[in-house]
């Protein structure tokens, strides 16, 4: 029983917590992987997120699913880290905008490129989306959550989820096209 494991985790039982996250940890890792763009950072962030969850599990109120709560922590951990790094690097959004504007004129059809080649580039393109944009695409298109569920995980209104997905999918496509 999940609730039992949560109770025990609150009491500081490490084994129970490990049992509890058994089926979610791979998803946590995949979220951090997509958010961070490389396995090394993903590993760090996934560990960080799970430790955070363990320390904060007494705050889990049971009004949402445990997985939703856990994924939210994973997302936020990555976003915090990206924000820290962003301060020292180029602003991501602007770079994308200028590039897509410049390359929008190109009309090479995407279909002529080899699928595998492109798949490898998907992650690269994802990395160039903003953190907010990246997370909705990850949740919707890779983890397959519905708009409502995404709204719950990110704690934003469903309309915001919809417009973010609209905007970022087109952006992602433009980036892929520009790189091709």
């Amino acid at each position: 029983m999940e609730s039992k494991l949560i109770e025990k985790s609150i009491n500081g039982d490490v084994a129970s917590f490990e049992l509890l996250i058994q089926k979610y940890r791979q998803y946590v890792y995949n979220i951090t992987y997509r958010m961070m763009g490389n396995s090394h950072d993903a590993d760090d962030m996934a560990q960080e997120a799970l430790i955070k969850a363990f320390k904060a599990i007494h705050q889990f109120k049971g009004d949402s699913q445990f997985s939703t709560w856990l994924y939210r922590i994973a997302m936020n951990t990555c976003k915090d880290e990206l924000r820290k790094r962003k301060e020292a690097t180029l602003p991501l959004d602007e770079r994308i905008d200028t590039m897509t504007e410049a390359d929008r004129a190109q009309t090479d059809p995407l279909l002529i490129y080899e699928q595998k080649e492109l798949q490898a580039k998907v992650q690269g393109a994802l990395d160039r989306l903003s953190a907010d944009g990246k997370e909705v695409i990850i949740l919707r298109d890779i983890l397959g959550y519905s708009y409502e569920e995404i709204g719950r995980i990110l704690e934003v209104p469903i309309g915001t989820v919809r417009s973010r997905i609209n905007r970022n999918r087109i952006m992602l496509k433009d980036i892929l096209k520009a790189e091709a």
């Binding site: 029983m1 999940e2 609730s3 039992k4 109770e7 609150i10 009491n11 500081g12 039982d13 490490v14 917590f17 490990e18 089926k23 979610y24 940890r25 791979q26 998803y27 890792y29 995949n30 992987y33 396995s39 993903a42 590993d43 996934a46 560990q47 799970l50 430790i51 363990f54 320390k55 007494h58 109120k61 049971g62 009004d63 949402s64 699913q65 445990f66 997985s67 009309t107 059809p109 995407l110 279909l111 699928q115 492109l118 798949q119 998907v122 695409i137 919707r140 298109d141 890779i142 708009y147 919809r162 997905i165 609209n166 999918r169 087109i170 992602l172 496509k173 892929l176 096209k177």
Partner: protein, 434 residues
């Protein structure tokens, strides 16, 4: 200009689109080349994303996590230990029940004492004392943070059985809390939970009842319509009663019937509509009762009881004392009985939700549109007939009176004599008195 179609493209990809919108999008794409390319590309990106596989976890992910979790657990404990010093201890103890207050107070004094000594003196000497304190502090915080039944605090954890009893109580309390929070409303992600909960219904449990009273011209057709809908479904006619209406006996053979139907929930509206279509509705009442909350509460109660039952079985295996065994078995029987009763209630609700009750009263009438009949041409002949009838009736009655008088004349004669004698006597008596 084309922006609105881009929104539609995304809606299309997510399946969040109406038929009309699909048509609109298709029409636009057929004419607008740039949008067609955009649309194809978007769909292609989506398939690319769909094909992205889940990355496997790095090799020693679990081991490293385990190490860090242990470290985290240790720091959490140390923090709690420090937090228990001073006012927070008293605050926490206040939250406990009266039973444990005395014990809590003693524990608090001990904790404060030991911690003060511990911080003042070198570690090694008081190691034993400090680990006890940590344990006690853990119990307090555990109790407080989970808001479990406070009476389990202070029980001596001497043997396994006692500890198990306390633990099972705590588990029950925790599960109850979860149930009350609506934990059962959202099916959990865990495979264990979903398999356990699959026996319960998801979605809302609504019990519908309809009462209908209807005037019809053709009784048989209405009944046939009802039967036609129920045929081949799980629904059935629970009771059926038909009788002729006595006040119309001679003329029309009109009937009156009352039916109790059990109608599958999805056919409920169709059934009502098709009955109503047969005639004039006198009375129509549909009542829906949403028992979702009661259903979920009962379901979680059953789950709790099952947990208790399992725990009791485990305890039973460990018990050695005969009186203990008997007591646990009694408790098991009681728990089982309660589970059965609640499960029956759940089944009953499910049954009522599946098959709605429809009470129908059918009243057959000659015509649904009563009209004044036109005066027909033969009114005079009818009047004549009526006149003759009346004359005949008078003649017949007179004759019958005559026959009766003649036939009964002997009796009448005797009665007349008796009456004459009687009246004479009565008059004489009256005369004397005056």
């Amino acid at each position: 200009m084309c922006d609105q179609y881009k929104t539609l493209m995304n809606a299309y990809i997510d399946g969040d689109i109406t038929e009309a919108q699909i048509k609109e999008l298709e029409q636009h794409v057929a004419h607008c080349e740039s949008c067609m390319i955009e649309f194809e590309e978007l769909k292609y990106v989506k398939t690319l994303l769909d094909e992205e596989v889940l990355m496997p976890l790095p090799n020693d992910f679990d081991e490293r996590l385990h190490q860090r979790l242990l470290e985290a657990a240790a720091t959490v404990e140390r923090k709690e230990e420090n937090e228990t010093i001073g006012a927070s201890v008293m605050g926490k103890i206040k939250k406990l029940g009266w039973k444990s207050r005395a014990l809590g107070g003693v524990a608090a004094v001990l904790i404060i004492g030991v911690v003060v000594v511990k911080t003042a003196l070198p570690y090694g000497i008081y190691m034993g004392g400090s680990s006890d304190t940590a344990a006690a502090a853990n119990y307090i915080t555990a109790e407080e943070s989970t808001e479990m039944a406070p009476q389990s605090f202070g029980i001596s954890y001497d043997n396994d059985t006692a500890a198990d009893v306390a633990e099972s109580k705590a588990v029950t309390a925790a599960t109850e809390a979860r149930g009350a929070d609506g934990g059962y409303e959202s099916p959990e992600m865990t495979s264990n939970d979903s398999s356990q909960n699959s026996q319960y219904r998801n979605g809302r449990i609504i019990l519908k009842t309809a009462n209908l009273s209807i005037d019809v011209e053709s009784y048989d057709e209405t009944v046939a319509a009802i039967k036609a809908i129920l045929e081949g479904t799980e629904g059935y006619i629970e009771s059926e009663q038909t009788s002729y209406k006595t006040r119309y006996t001679d003329r029309d053979n009109l009937r009156y019937g009352s039916f109790v139907l059990r109608v599958p929930a999805d056919l409920f509206d169709q059934m009502l509509d098709s009955i109503k279509a047969n005639g004039f509705v006198n009375y129509d009442n549909v009542n829906s009762e949403d028992v979702t909350k009661y259903y979920r509460d009962t379901a979680s109660q059953v789950e709790n009881l099952k947990i208790t039952e399992n725990r009791l079985r485990e305890i039973l295996e460990k018990a050695t004392d005969v009186s203990d065994i008997l007591e646990i078995e009694n408790e098991l029987t009681r728990t089982r009985r309660e589970i059965d009763a609640l499960t029956n209630q759940l089944k009953n609700w499910e049954d009522l939700a599946d098959l709605s009750y429809v009470y129908v009263e059918i009243d057959e009438v000659e015509s649904l549109n009563p009209t004044i009949e036109p005066i027909d041409d033969s009114v005079l002949s009818k009047a004549k007939e009526g006149f003759i009838d009346t004359i005949n009736a008078i003649v017949k009655t007179t004759m019958e009176i005559f026959i009766w008088l003649v036939a009964k004349s002997p009796v009448l004669l005797i009665l007349a004599i008796l009456a004459g004698v009687g009246s004479k006597i009565w008059r004489k008596k009256r005369h004397k008195k005056i």
